[in-house]
């Protein structure tokens, strides 16, 4: 299978290790990874902040970049949610019938990483080794937009050496919400502090999620408090192997 990596601008710029881990993991599983280098940003921040007309050129650009891909995979639930859930609406807003059709052709081929592995490839054991106490935060977009269900947890349960502990109140939002964290900083912080308390209650040394944006939010709070909990993307855990372990 040829998998075109939709890295997302966020990971590309801030968390390149997540992209490197995704590439290594998929190649280890026998997939051919491609990286269309002209990709930029999916426009999620624009669309969600209300700049929906400004998103249309970005939708058009994305469709051009990924048009010929066999499958498109991204290590980000919220960016995949943007493409699958909101691109059809943005295309409709453009009034361009050709774009609407192009988006329709594209969206069924776009997968979040755990969806591709579990639902499309039928894998739950990817041969990973990660000897740490980990708790998993299912992000809002993975749960309620993509409906990935327990796919990420099934992958984590398949990891050798992992001590996976349940996160209390896991399904509740961490308070990030993109520009919400800026526009409603006080409310965002109130939500974040409850989420951090739940994370700390687990005694985990690593907090895992399928979205670096939520991880950056929770991790930014944990780091400021010197809480001693690392935030690690699902792809990084799944890419880790016994031979690489220190």
């Amino acid at each position: 299978m040829r998998a075109a990596l939709f890295i997302t601008c966020f990971n590309d710029t801030l968390f390149p290790n997540v992209g490197i881990a995704t590439t290594r993991l998929l190649e280890r599983l026998g997939l051919t990874v491609e990286f269309p280098e002209t990709q930029t940003c999916c426009g999620q921040m624009h669309y969600n902040t209300g700049y929906q007309r400004e998103t249309i050129p970005l939708v058009r650009h994305f469709v051009e970049v990924f048009d010929t891909a066999e499958v498109i995979v991204a290590p980000s639930a919220s960016c995949v949610g943007m493409v699958r859930d909101l691109y059809p609406r943005a295309a409709k807003l453009s009034g361009d019938g050709a774009l609407v059709e192009a988006v329709e052709r594209l969206t069924p081929r776009v997968y979040e990483l755990s969806e591709l592995l579990v639902n499309r490839l039928g894998l739950t054991d990817v041969g990973a080794y990660y000897p740490h106490r980990v708790t998993y935060h299912p992000t809002c977009h993975s749960l309620r937009v993509l409906h990935v269900g327990d796919a990420p947890l099934r992958l984590l349960r398949g990891v050798k050496g992992i001590d996976l502990v349940e996160l209390p109140g896991a399904a509740e939002c961490c308070g990030f919400g993109g520009t919400f964290a800026i526009k409603n900083a006080d409310t965002s912080l109130a939500m974040l502090s409850d989420k951090m308390r739940c994370v700390l209650d687990t005694g985990a040394e690593v907090l895992c999620a399928a979205d670096t944006s939520c991880l950056m939010h929770i991790g930014g709070g944990l780091h400021r408090q010197r809480a001693g909990v690392a935030t690690v993307h699902l792809a990084e855990i799944l890419a880790a192997t016994e031979s690489e372990a220190e």
Binding site: P16, G50, V145, S188
Partner: protein, 473 residues
């Protein structure tokens, strides 16, 4: 329209609410309890999703043919001996209601809990006309005695705990009697006060949960039985109802009487379901007036995306499940309709200019949509309204300028990569100990409490290119 004045800004109102630790405690406890109750009774029904689909479909049909159903309702109510009044807005509704009460020679009315009468600020209008309104729902009574406004659709006094209520009753209705904070003692004090009101009132005012177009039957569901007292004892009954509350046939009630109590109070069935059709000689009120209120609803109906907001049955499941509401409480929303449903309904009723921060009072986490018994896609409507807000924002607004510039950068791979390099160079001004710990202006909201990951030396695309190059050589 509810009011022409702009509402207070949500982020500022929320900030005040968030600093009230007692409020935070009360809200967290109440919403956690009711969420669990709802989840348990919804989980019992194997056909819950089918019920939601049916509820949504019935409401969509009502909206499609609202004009016909309204006329059908009017003639059915009049056939059954009731009178129907049409009110374009709050002022018109209040005028109609006051005229009816004055014609009945009453200077006092008992009220069934009703959001619609709160929306039109009926109690204030009555007071100005010399008519005293007595709220009979226990929680409504509490906030009326406290001189406050509701902070929850279903549990208006959710922000108060029992010791706060004890203190309030001591000051008001307990007449010097000793009172503990035991809920049964508090209820007894309210009961003694309300009984007198029920037995002496000549006119009652209610809202309606549903009205059946086919039969002209009106329906109120409640938990306390105080509503039933109002609906059955006084001579004259006045019901104020938003035009969207119609159901086509009596059969449709079967769907909603399952959806509503499980979603709102977490009960299989609500304790009191009152249904009445016009007037029945010798039994119950002998005069019945139904006031059908528009107050901005036809504008909502005209909006293809926003229209689904009118499906709402005011169950409040979205409030209880919302992580924002659970922390800020209802007053921060500045409207009779708080929480996620308020964040989409209020801007549509008032116009987005009047409530431009409400569509942003959500992380778009989707929890509200998941629990909505009539499947209102609240995140979709929030986004739609955010789109309207930005369309009305002056083009030289700093956020709009920044967003347009970013869109221009993102659409070009060259400009995008240049921006990446620029961010890497520029960030050193804000870095301390390997992280970005202070940012200026609006971004300071992030760094007052969170560190920010710096842009690393190598982007993913740099790594990819280096690897491709290494493979080729």
């Amino acid at each position: 329209m509810m009011a022409s004045k702009a509402l207070p800004l949500f982020p500022e109102a929320a900030k005040t609410a968030l600093s009230n630790t007692q409020l935070r405690r009360n809200l967290s406890k109440a919403t956690t309890t009711i969420r669990a109750k709802r989840a348990a009774v919804v989980g019992e029904l194997p056909d819950w999703e089918d019920l939601r689909t049916a509820g949504s479909a019935i409401k969509a049909r009502v909206m499609r043919h609202l004009d016909e159903y309204l006329l059908q309702l009017e003639s059915a109510v009049e056939r059954a001996g009731g009178q129907v009044h049409w009110a374009r807005d709050a002022a018109e509704a209040n005028r109609v209601i006051i005229a009816i009460i004055q014609a009945a020679n009453a200077d006092r009315v008992v009220k069934v809990k009703s959001l619609t009468t709160d929306e039109i600020r009926l109690n204030g209008a009555l007071a100005r006309a010399g008519i005293r309104a007595i709220e009979t729902d226990l929680a409504e009574l509490i906030i009326q005695l406290a001189g406050e406004t509701s902070s929850h659709i279903l549990v208006p006094a959710i922000h108060k705990n029992r010791s706060e209520i004890r203190d309030l009753f001591r000051r008001t209705i307990a007449r010097g009697e000793e009172l503990s904070d035991d809920p049964s003692q508090l209820a007894a004090a309210a009961r003694a006060y309300l009984r007198e009101q029920f037995l002496s009132a000549q006119v009652a005012v209610s809202g309606a949960n549903f009205a059946i177009a086919e039969t002209g039957t009106t329906c109120v569901v409640e938990s306390e039985g105080n509503g039933r007292m109002c609906l059955s004892l006084p001579h004259t009954l006045l019901t104020v109802m938003g035009i969207e509350k119609i159901l086509p046939t009596f059969r449709d009630l079967a769907v909603f009487l399952q959806l509503l109590p499980r979603s709102s109070t977490g009960e299989r069935m609500n304790p009191y379901t009152s249904l009445w059709t016009g007037v029945t000689p010798g039994d119950g009120p002998q005069a019945f007036h139904l006031v059908l209120l528009d107050n901005g609803r036809t504008n909502v109906l005209a909006d293809e995306v926003g229209r689904q907001t009118l499906h709402c049955i005011r169950c409040s499941a979205c409030l209880n499940t919302c992580p924002v509401y659970a922390r800020t409480g209802g007053h921060a929303y500045g409207s009779v309709y708080p929480g996620p449903i308020g964040a989409i309904l209020t801007p549509q009723l008032l116009g987005v200019k009047q409530a431009k921060t409400l569509p942003y009072a959500s992380t778009l986490c989707g929890a509200c949509y998941e629990v909505c018994p009539v499947k209102i896609n609240i995140p979709e409507v929030l986004l739609h309204l955010r789109g309207e807000v930005t369309q009305q924002t002056p083009p030289l607004n700093p956020e709009a300028l920044a967003m347009r510039e970013l869109a221009r950068i993102f659409v070009s791979p060259e400009r995008y990569e240049r921006a990446q390099r620029l961010a890497r160079r520029g960030q050193r001004f804000f870095m301390h100990g390997g992280v970005i710990d202070h940012l200026p202006g609006i971004f300071s909201g992030w760094t007052t409490t969170r560190d920010l990951t710096p842009v690393p030396k190598q982007s993913f695309r740099d790594w990819w290119r280096a690897r491709q190059k290494g493979r080729q050589s």
